[in-house]
């Protein structure tokens, strides 16, 4: 990149914090755009709380039918707390409309803008996604606070500061992981006209393997056919559980010590892998776009 090269025009002089100013502006613009549709937004946020109610009924029925005190180490209270916590992690890692939006910009040609203007598309998407999330949290904090307050008796005592810090770190990583996963899927739009079926398949896997549906500890006892390898242990190596299960399990004190460190490292490695994959997909995709159509 020759970003720092002074050009003939006097207005291109590099200034301090150039990159930061640009990021800030992208953030501000995306915030304003997001706020243009606030009504739709608030409704969407509230609707997210509906599915959890059905989940709670389901698990109440399961517990009363089995008469067990706990399932895979989860008491009835733990289950409720787990679901509420995955809602928080999903609020960080889910990226509604990201993949579809990228694919659409390729299809309708608006991606051209990022070829013509001196701006990086991936950075731009990231900045606007951060903005979307900030707006979302500003609205969602109220219903979240209300529900957590009402359900406070289901939660174990608040963990120590170190655990909270690791929990927050895992949330931040889950945001980045979710972003780069979906952005990479969206970039497939350079090769396929429509990515919605690919996104659907991804969502399905994600739903089953991220812990969104049930705590992944329940997979520990399920074999894979290979002796000594359970489905649970395979899932730990995949990126999915870091977008829902992992932060919730940290808060509930289900993971400790070296196991926790190992999981954090796996999560961080997945973030890097997907960020690189996303960048490669963008490079190759634009090269293909340039060669075939435009």
């Amino acid at each position: 990149m020759t970003a720092a090269t002074p050009s003939a025009a006097a207005h291109s002089r590099p200034r301090p914090f150039e990159g930061l100013r640009m990021w800030w502006m992208m953030l501000v613009i995306s915030l304003e755009e997001r706020l243009a549709y606030r009504g739709d937004f608030i409704l969407g946020t509230l609707m997210r709380f509906l599915p959890i109610v059905t989940q709670l009924f389901l698990w109440t029925a399961v517990f009363s039918a089995t008469n067990a005190a706990d399932i895979a180490g989860y008491s009835r209270n733990d289950i409720v707390a787990y679901y509420l916590l995955t809602m928080i992690t999903r609020a960080f890692s889910s990226m509604p409309g990201l993949a579809g939006g990228i694919a659409r910009s390729v299809r309708d040609g608006s991606v051209k803008k990022y070829l013509v203007q001196p701006i990086d598309y991936v950075s731009f998407l990231l900045a606007s996604r951060i903005a979307h999330k900030l707006v979302y949290y500003a609205v969602a904090v109220f219903p979240f606070a209300g529900v957590f307050f009402l359900c406070r008796s289901f939660f174990p005592p608040v963990p120590d500061a170190a655990t909270i810090a690791i929990f927050l770190l895992s949330l931040l990583l889950s945001f980045l992981l979710g972003f780069f996963l979906e952005a990479t899927l969206g970039m497939l739009g350079f090769w396929f006209l429509e990515v919605s079926s690919i996104v659907f398949a991804y969502m399905l896997l994600q739903y089953l393997l991220s812990g969104h549906m049930f705590p992944l500890d329940m997979l520990a006892g399920i074999g894979t056919g290979i002796p000594g390898v359970s489905l649970g242990s395979v899932v730990h190596w995949l990126p999915f559980e870091y977008t829902a299960y992992f932060p919730a399990a940290i808060w509930l004190g289900k993971i400790h010590g070296t196991e926790l460190i190992r999981a954090l490292v796996i999560e961080a490695v997945w973030v890097v892998v997907m960020a690189v994959a996303c960048r490669i997909a963008w490079r190759r995709g634009t090269r293909r776009y340039s060669a075939f159509g435009g």
């Binding site: 990149m1 020759t2 090269t5 003939a8 613009i29 051209k112 013509v116 075939f292 435009g294």
Partner: protein
């Protein structure tokens, strides 16, 4: 990248290609001498897949697809100097838009080379991208749901425009196009003409040295077209900007461009001034007569080809070389109330040019011009 110039005239630009730093100094000193756009044997081919009709054929298409090569551009040469205003004309599918996409680096060519402002466009280096602009279609640079003023602020950061300079340029452009009152309205609520004006402001904020316009007046009413013409003429002259536009409206060409490049079937068919086109490709004049009586067909055929006889009103097509002898004869033998002699409309000339196989591709244009 060294652009393969052969003419000694262009030595300075060869240096420019090897020493980009130097070229920028040079481009200000020898303005006009060094081409801003230099294109050599530029070709673009696409592979398109034919989609057969019918369900069965569609299913077999899943396994085996028929493809063919479309030659969008077939080895085009062009050189444009600083401050030139060039129109690309041609029928739909002639390769005009492909050409603009190549010059702005959206697509890569199959063969050939191009340099714009000393850069190969499709390498897409930021230094190049900060110095040109492309306006293509209506939903281009502006954010649909936000007021244009916000998109402008984003452009300020994207193109790193200094605050004072940004405000001055923005105010100047906004006043020229008289769009101040719509700056704070979401773009999606604006009319086509208003959006086009704001797109142009957005494109010119960073004071590009080269501007590409793809059908800027399409769908606009006469007043908006006229406003855009005045605006573009003014800004182009003021900034000594190099502009290349594609259009289907001869009014755009007549109002804006001294130089016309006609492309058909991916080849440059004509490159020269608009006057020259009229001169070279007009074979006849249109004479409109208002007579005292209603003439017969035979009576009129003596003078030329009668296009229309409606009562005493007659429209004749007369070969250009004959016009000087035929006109006095008409006035002598007919009782004429009114007479007018006009050139064939520009649209018709160009349409004929699009069809003509006789026109020679002109490639040595730049020598004559500079």
């Amino acid at each position: 990248m060294v652009f393969p110039y052969t003419s000694p005239m262009h030595n300075s630009s060869q240096n420019a290609a090897t020493h980009p730093q130097k070229s920028r100094v040079a481009s200000r000193e020898d303005a006009g001498r060094e081409p801003v756009i230099a294109v050599e044997s530029l070709a673009k081919e696409y592979r398109v897949y034919d989609k057969p009709e019918g369900l069965l054929a569609s299913i077999s298409g899943l396994f085996q697809r028929k493809s063919r090569i479309v030659h969008a551009l077939r080895g085009v040469n062009l050189s444009v100097g600083r401050g030139e205003f060039v129109a690309l004309l041609g029928p739909n599918g002639a390769g005009k838009t492909t050409f603009l996409k190549l010059l702005s680096g959206i697509i890569t060519p199959t063969r050939g080379t191009a340099q714009v402002l000393g850069h190969v466009p499709w390498e897409r280096v930021d230094d190049f991208r900060r110095r040109f602009a492309l306006v293509m279609g209506q939903r281009n640079q502006l954010w649909w749901d936000l007021p244009a003023a916000e998109s402008f602020r984003l452009h300020k950061e994207i193109y790193r425009i200094d605050t004072a300079r940004f405000e001055r340029t923005r105010d100047e452009l906004v006043d020229m196009l008289d769009v101040r009152k719509i700056l704070l309205q979401p773009v999606r609520e604006l009319s086509l003409g208003e959006r086009m004006k704001l797109e142009l402001v957005a494109a010119l904020l960073h004071e590009p040295q080269v501007l590409f316009l793809d059908e800027p007046t399409i769908g606009l009413d006469v007043v908006a077209q006229h406003t855009l013409h005045r605006f573009l003429t003014h800004v182009q002259a003021q900034r000594q900007m190099t502009v290349v536009l594609t259009t289907h409206y001869m009014k755009d060409v007549a109002a804006l461009c001294e130089r016309v490049v006609v492309i058909t079937h991916g080849d440059i068919l004509y490159d020269g001034s608009l006057d020259e086109i009229v001169d070279r490709f007009t074979t006849h004049k249109i004479v409109t007569l208002d007579l005292d009586d209603t003439p017969s067909l035979e009576r009129m055929e003596r003078f030329g080809f009668p296009c229309e006889i409606r009562g005493p009103q007659v429209i004749l097509r007369i070969d250009r070389p004959r016009i000087a002898e035929v006109l006095p004869e008409i006035l002598r033998s007919e009782r004429v109330r009114d007479i007018s002699v006009e050139d064939v409309p520009l649209e018709e000339i160009v349409a004929a040019l699009f069809r003509s196989e006789a026109a020679q591709p002109v490639t040595t244009h730049q020598e004559a011009r500079t």
